[in-house]
């Protein structure tokens, strides 16, 4: 039973629909805002929910019904900061996030903390919602002499930032979080000299037979292909969704019943080696993860190239 929710404002009602059908466990959501907004409804109904790629700590903090299989913002922010400082040797970073978006602002504050700890300096700005002119921010980053432009923003904005940066022959590299791991961003960077690095949960090539299986499914199923942006590149969310599904099955097997309450108690004990690495839950309900994939955009033929597995240390 799939429900797509566009705004966190509609989340409580959508969650009520799921709970109304008394499902055993809820997989979702992909975004932190929507997950937090729906959390109360799941708690009242006593149904366990498993976040797939929502990385905001608030999703699981202070409750026992919300779990997740992905890493958290503090981890992702630190990993990106380490990557920028150590691998790219950046001394000065420019951070740009959407005003009022808890995902962007959270990541920027963790990145700033880790980057400053690594001896760098940070300048950060926020743009108003529905903004489309990013040239001024790019000019500012250029004139401040920043080595890296960190913009963990949603796809609509990141495609614009990359496209507009391409016209300004910028020297700095653009650094993005898991939201930039998308074909639209790849298209925007195609044929430009933009250096784009993105952190993500899974990069194609991490698990050969999974890649083959998924590619075969995408190419044979028309709707799946269009949903995937018209090509068969594997995005991290697909891999994470795949893993979440199996973790849920493990939980149901462990509780050997489909009663939501039993599954909720069984879920923390589940250990599962998925496509995106081995998954186990800590006492708060977050996944114990120690590395994140970093990949870069190969602009000539619009594909992702695996770079490294960066750790938070």
């Amino acid at each position: 039973m799939l429900i797509t929710v566009l705004t966190s404002q509609k989340a409580p009602a959508a969650a009520a629909v799921l709970v109304g059908k008394n499902v055993a466990i809820v997989l979702g959501s992909y975004g932190s805002g929507v997950s937090i907004a729906a959390s109360e409804t799941f708690k009242n109904a006593g149904v366990a929910a498993m976040g797939i790629t929502c990385t905001n700590p608030n999703v699981t903090a202070g409750n026992d019904h919300y779990f997740r299989i992905c890493f958290l913002d503090p981890f992702q922010g630190t990993v990106l900061a380490n990557f920028a400082a150590k691998e790219l040797g950046a001394k000065k970073a420019y951070c740009l996030g959407e005003l009022g978006n808890e995902y962007d602002q959270g990541l920027i504050s963790y990145f700033t903390e880790a980057f400053k700890a690594a001896g760098g300096t940070v300048i950060s700005d926020s743009f108003p919602t529905n903004n489309s002119d990013f040239t001024t921010y790019i000019n500012k980053a250029k004139s401040e002499g920043c080595d890296v432009f960190f913009c963990p923003v949603s796809i609509a904005y990141s495609t614009q930032i990359v496209a507009q940066a391409a016209t300004k022959d910028v020297s700095f590299a653009i650094l993005g979080s898991d939201t930039l791991d998308d074909n639209m961003v790849l298209d925007a960077a195609k044929g430009t000299d933009i250096k784009l690095y993105v952190s993500t949960f899974y990069a194609e090539g991490g698990n050969a037979d999974f890649d083959a299986g998924i590619k075969e499914y995408i190419n044979t199923n028309a709707d799946a292909k269009t949903a995937n942006g018209g090509n068969d590149t594997i995005s991290a969310v697909t891999a994470m969704g795949y893993d979440a599904y199996f973790v849920a099955i493990e939980a149901i097997k462990a509780a050997n019943s489909t009663d939501p309450g039993a599954i909720k108690t069984a879920l923390p004990t589940v250990k599962y080696t998925g496509v995106s690495g081995d998954i186990a839950f800590d006492d708060i309900g977050d996944a114990k993860r120690d590395t994140a994939y970093i990949k870069t955009a190969d602009n000539d033929n619009a594909a992702w190239k695996f770079v490294t597995q960066q750790s938070a240390k």
């Binding site: 966190s8 008394n22 109360e40 409804t41 009242n44 978006n101 808890e102 919602t129």
Partner: protein, 390 residues
Amino acid sequence: MLNEKKKLNKGSLITLIIILVFLIATIVLENTINPNSLLFTVIRKAAVYSLVAVSMNLLNGFTGLFSLGQAGFMLLGAYTYAILTIPNDVRDIIYYLFQGSSFHVSTVGFFEGILGDTGVAAFISMILGVIIAIVAGGLVAALVAYLIGLPVLRLKSDYLAIATLGFAEILRAIFQWDKLGKITNGANALRGYPTFSDFNIKAENGATVLRLSSFIPLLFAGICILVIVLLINSSYGRAFKAIRDDEVAAEAMGINLAKHKMMSFCISSFFAGVGGALFAMFASTVQAKTFTSAMTYEIFLIVVIGGIGSISGSCIASFLYIACSEWWLRFLDNTQYINGTQLPLFRNGFRMVVFSVVIMVIVLFFRDGLFGDKELPDLFKKRRVKKDGE
């Protein structure tokens, strides 16, 4: 209309009975059928929206001041309520990005200090704390309304609309500003404060004895709407209507326009603030980004559908609107099959398109909306008049 002299006329009596039946049915239903059914989400959200719609109607419908700032005042009410009632132990986790909040008073905590924080005492102090916070939300909204009203209320109708719309946008930008993170938690959501489901009466072992989580919003919204009805039928309500009908004549009859407009603006903003606090309790999270101009448009279109200048119109229209948008018309978004063949248009977003077309039809051809400026009691009176053949 309710006039004090005669006993409540027949129409209003029937209306009161209908409202009472609806309230009792809500309690009974909630404790019998599946408490997570969508019906209760609709009831809770519709109760909140009807209060805000009525407060907007008081301004646009009864005083003729065309304001589009309702989302801004809801934001103030919601944030004030949340900040005042987040329990102190959870407060620093929620404000994690800003190393804790600089605001450590909680109305609920205050009463718990006096009455004790276990069992019945905790429940009572929770209720008192929530009510105080809701009223505080309204007061903050009314105060800010007074400040913005001074320059803005002199403007002509369409300029007033744009100025109030702009004001709500400015407010949202301020509340998302990370420099104020210590108070507003910046872009992050505020949560953990008492919501409607905290009003369910629980026995010692935590089992729910009586579910009130859908009755409470109706009760709170109902009380506020009753106050607005009393205001509109009072001498000041007639002054507002005079300003709407003919401002020049009203001023010539000794009505101080600036004072009365400001009064209407502040009272409407007070109830929008209370509505914002109730919305926070409904949504269980408060984030500035939900209070957009799209929310004001949504509420304004509810007022238009119900009938500008009709309170019962706004209430009934908000129940219909929320029921349709969240429940009945939801099927429009999912692909539908009639004996095997897939219907073409049905996919995500179709529901909102159908909705906007319906609204356009109402705005163009049923300009008075469902009720025009009549009230529910008038519906029953009309039949009476025909019978007596006056």
